[in-house]
């Protein structure tokens, strides 16, 4: 595998995760639990779409891929490299919050690793967005702690969301063939290493919040997305996301 293929694969998976989760979380816009939280959650979804845009731009400018708009709206399901975790439909707010917490804790570590990357464009981007991601994790900390220490209902709903989310969350760290090359060239770190750090970090908040960390050694991580094998939910999401664009694909915005 050439160096370019490995970097491209890395950027595609981080960008696609951000794009799809940004879209999913934006589904709360207008119907969030309170006005203020609605605004905060929507704003963080926009941050995610912004991260995807910047990463697609790197793919376009550095590797001659299609434009960011085309990468977001005109690729087939199979070409997306998002993990199943970000594809799961929006159900209740507890699940969205827990997904936001587990995902952004992982994202924080990913971008931290990219801050030390030998590949300059992603390094610069990682330094630019670290404040946004820090805010996302602070937001998650406050909510998880508050609901974990809330009443019986909030505790039960958070715990079941954590139990439901965990196998999918582990899928964020799906190993890839090109990893060794990226590590060797100082571009990125290994998924296994990220996962270990992530487990330590998320367990700490879950336990501090009076909730229980599931025994991950007994869980089967949900893989497939990185190789284009997606959950049944991605196709309908893409159909909805591209609906307006498909009315007139040549329209100028």
């Amino acid at each position: 595998m050439t160096k370019d293929t490995a970097i491209k694969e890395l950027i595609f998976k981080i960008a696609d995760d951000a794009m799809i989760l940004g879209h999913r979380n934006s589904e709360w816009t207008g119907i969030g639990p309170t006005l203020e939280e609605d605004i905060a959650f929507s704003s963080m979804s926009q941050d995610k779409i912004g991260h995807a845009y910047q990463l697609y731009k790197i793919l376009h400018e550095q590797f001659g891929e299609a434009s960011p708009d085309e990468l977001a709206f005109k690729r087939d399901e199979k070409a997306f490299k998002s993990c199943h975790f970000v594809e799961i439909p929006t159900t209740d707010y507890a699940f969205s919050l827990v997904r936001h917490f587990l995902f952004d804790y992982a994202d924080a570590l990913r971008f931290e690793a990219l801050q030390n990357s030998s590949f300059e464009p992603v390094k610069q981007l990682a330094n630019k967005v670290k404040g946004e991601i820090k805010y996302h994790t602070m937001h998650a900390n406050v909510w998880v702690k508050m609901l974990g220490q809330g009443n019986e209902e909030s505790k039960a709903r958070m715990q079941s969301a954590i139990n439901e989310a965990m196998p999918f969350a582990l899928g964020i760290f799906e190993p890839s063939e090109s990893e060794a090359e990226l590590v060797e060239k100082g571009i990125y770190t290994s998924e296994e290493k990220l996962k270990e750090q992530w487990l330590t970090n998320v367990s700490e908040l879950i336990e501090k919040s009076g909730l229980q960390m599931p025994d991950v050694s007994k869980l089967e991580p949900v893989y497939g997305g990185r190789n284009g094998y997606h959950s049944e939910y991605l196709a309908p999401l893409l159909l909805e996301m591209t609906e307006v664009m498909r009315i007139d694909p040549s329209a100028q915005w």
Binding site: E36, A40, Y135, M138, W143, M146
Partner: protein, 123 residues
């Protein structure tokens, strides 16, 4: 009343009026924003939150995302004390209060005279 928003209808919320549990209701916070280090914090509005931490987190997006921010304060609205409208007449003082205004001291004339004299001497 049925919502016009299909997303709300999909949620199949229970029928009837929803009641707010007094004990669980969030409190209102006032937000103060600083746009340059060293300048005064300016009251920019209020928001609802369950505690101080959440109030700060929500204030960041509510009042900080569209302008430069060097500082943010939140304070419970109930912690702000203000005069009642009926007490505002304490500001109604006698219209003639030139004795309290520094510009109107008699000594002003003498200072001007002294300054002029000095000026003439320096010429």
């Amino acid at each position: 009343m049925k919502s016009l928003d299909p997303r709300v209808n999909r949620m199949s919320l229970p029928e009837g009026e929803s009641k707010i549990d007094e004990n669980n209701y969030w409190e209102s916070y006032e937000v103060f924003h600083q746009k340059k280090t060293g300048t005064a914090y300016v009251h920019v509005g209020s928001l609802d939150a369950a505690n101080q931490e959440l109030a700060l987190i929500l204030a960041k997006e509510q009042y900080g995302r569209r302008q430069k921010t060097t500082g943010l304060w939140v304070v419970k609205s109930t912690e702000i004390f203000s005069l009642e409208p009926t007490e505002m007449d304490i500001f109604d003082t006698t219209p003639e209060k030139s004795h309290r205004e520094a510009t109107d001291y008699k000594v002003r004339d003498k200072i001007t005279e002294f300054k002029n004299k000095n000026k003439n001497n320096n010429d």
